[in-house]
């Protein structure tokens, strides 16, 4: 009684996500073909050379920072937290989209994530590494950074576990470790695919990391449960990480920081900026590697929809902050917010509003969600906007607090800029190496989008 002219829902969905005539073999060949390329594309070398130059700037600047101390930065009294904290929050935030895509969308059975999750998880890993650099180097005496850890020592000294800064350290380190485990677990079947297709030395390396995966259902059974549990525990973890980051601010008494809206507002902003970065990277990668049939316009459209949602959430948070500042009747709180919009750093505030609130409104229209050059530009604007959000929170709040006698202006130095730019070198060097040697889309999971992967496909169940 099957009418071949009528397509099932699964088929229609699969045709949008994997257009053209694709089967298990072609998916393997297309995705595994990228790390197997004999000749590395010239675009890759150009980008890699650029990333390495930035990495050299990073190494030099951090070296000088360690040698000379944090005095080389533009921080002063009262702005003790400058670009280092802005960049830390910015990079951690970017990482959040990776976990959201791989964990939360997995729990919601959003199959379309299968084409972008590997990509996004890798972005998370390198973004969190870049983020961890900043708390590491901003302590000044880097050689005692291990004091963060609760290690028994001859001084009988322990970290203050009641401090949000230590919570933050635990949260971000746990986040990094769990993201790494999640990423690697997802890679095991794909490494087995690369092992089975490679020869010689490469086969040994891929084989070592594939751990002897045989694809038997007795293995898949435990594997799937482990993956599901990792998704389940990563979901509250990712929500906790940026909430804890926000508590670095929210537990203080500074007007503009001491608000309860911070945790959800930070999480929404983090997801917003992370999707911006996934969008930027996937538009470049699908172009360079001709993977437009696997990372499709449909995927970009869905990401733009999430950016619209989270963009509206941060927009709501911005307005609610103003409302509460007025409604609280607290003159210091009101001043802090008026100073954000109309004070000497008004341009930072309005750059943030433009990029984070105005720009995503275009995504109400399908035309813009599917216009790739437009998406590329907006995805970059989103991350500029999110950087300004942290600038607004850190610098504008600190530069004018309770007493006008303590006010000051903040000017970054060349070293602030060079370390920030340098982290892009760290990020892109890692990411490009990943693109070169590992499958950027999950081979096993991409196949699950095909209706043929369902054992009930083509059967009539009475």
């Amino acid at each position: 009684m099957s009418n071949k002219a009528i397509k099932s829902k699964a088929q229609i969905r699969a045709e949008k996500l994997l257009p053209g005539n694709q089967d298990f073999t072609s998916i393997t060949n297309d995705i595994a073909g990228v790390p197997e390329q004999k000749k590395t594309p010239i675009q890759w070398w150009l980008l890699f050379g650029f990333a390495l130059s930035l990495l050299a700037i990073f190494a030099g600047s951090v070296g000088f920072l360690i040698w000379e101390g944090t005095g080389i930065w533009g921080i002063n009294n009262p702005i003790f937290w400058g670009w280092a904290i802005i960049n830390f929050v910015w990079w951690v935030g970017i990482g959040h989209a990776g976990t959201l895509i791989s964990a939360i969308l997995h729990l919601f059975r959003q199959n379309w994530r299968n084409a972008i999750n590997r990509f996004a998880e890798t972005m998370t890993l390198f973004a969190v590494i870049c983020a961890l650099v900043f708390p590491g180097i901003h302590v000044g005496r880097i050689w005692v950074a291990y004091w963060f850890l609760p290690l028994p020592n001859q001084m009988g000294m322990w970290p203050n576990m009641r401090s949000p800064l230590i919570w933050d350290f635990f949260a971000v380190f746990t986040y990094f470790t769990v993201s790494l485990l999640f990423w690697y677990t997802g890679l095991i079947p794909d490494l087995a695919t690369l092992r089975d297709r490679a020869k010689g030395f490469k086969k040994k390396v891929y084989g070592f990391f594939a751990l002897g995966w045989r694809g038997g259902n007795r293995q898949w059974q435990h594997y799937e449960l482990a993956y599901l549990v990792l998704a389940g525990i990563s979901t509250p973890l990712v929500l906790s990480v940026h909430s804890v980051v926000s508590s670095d601010f929210a537990t203080s008494v500074i007007p503009g920081w001491h608000t309860t809206i911070f945790p959800p507002y930070f999480v929404a902003g983090a997801i917003y900026s992370g999707f911006g970065m996934v969008m930027t990277l996937s538009i470049i990668a699908r172009k360079v590697y001709n993977l437009g049939h696997i990372i499709t316009v449909e995927h970009l459209d869905k990401m733009a929809q999430i950016m619209l949602l989270t963009g509206c959430m941060v927009g709501y948070a911005y307005s609610m902050e103003f409302f509460v500042a007025w409604y609280s009747g607290n003159p210091y709180e009101s001043f802090a917010f008026v100073n954000r919009a109309l004070g000497p750093y008004w341009w930072g505030y309005w750059a943030m509003i433009f990029c984070n609130v105005v720009v995503p409104q275009f995504f109400w229209f399908e035309k813009y969600r599917r216009h790739i050059p437009f998406l590329f530009i907006t995805s970059i604007l989103v991350n500029i906007g999110m950087w300004f959000e942290r600038f607004v929170i850190v610098v504008i709040t600190l530069h004018r607090d309770f007493m006008p006698g303590a006010w000051a202006m903040y000017n970054p130095t060349i070293w602030d800029v060079s370390i920030y730019l340098g982290t892009f070198g760290l990020f892109f060097t890692g990411f490009l190496l990943f693109l070169r040697f590992l499958p950027m889309v999950s081979i096993a999971e991409a196949k699950l989008v095909l209706p043929e992967s369902n054992p009930h496909h083509g059967h009539d169940h009475e």
Binding site: W167, L211, L230
Partner: protein, 177 residues
Amino acid sequence: MSKYGVLARFDSPQSLVHAAEKVRDEGFVNFDCHSPFPIHGMDDAMGLKRSKLGYLIGAMGLTGALFGFGLQTWIHSIEYPMNISGKPFFAYPAYAIITFELMVLFSAFGAVFGMMYFNRIPRFHHPVFYSEKFSDVSSDAFYVSIEVDDPKYDENEVISFLENLGGTEIEVLKDEN
């Protein structure tokens, strides 16, 4: 040289599930179904019990939470009681975050290393790798393997049984190459 078992290839997830059901109903126990991706419903088709990994992860999570809470309590109440802006030494609400983070961290280790333990990996040599064609299983092939250890194993019968199920490229695997 001893034998490992028989390998038969099937052409789709549907036929693999179908074959698994038949192999299970025939009374085989030591067999496995290999596929490039996890197949929905295969656990039932093979008659596998639910994975016990969940209990291990739960135990690890509980250990992590207790460790996290205990560590903080011990540090601030016993080992190094320090008055910081008048906060109580046993400030248990403030311990929630690190307790939670360590619970997640330990559970994640439990999930990944527990999965490796239950799957007996890393294991770099296995008789199925001696088959030339078997390597397709990580791309587009579907295989059933029935092992010599199975109490019902009889080589000729197993081969004809798998042939009747629609298996192709049937191979008898040796334990060593």
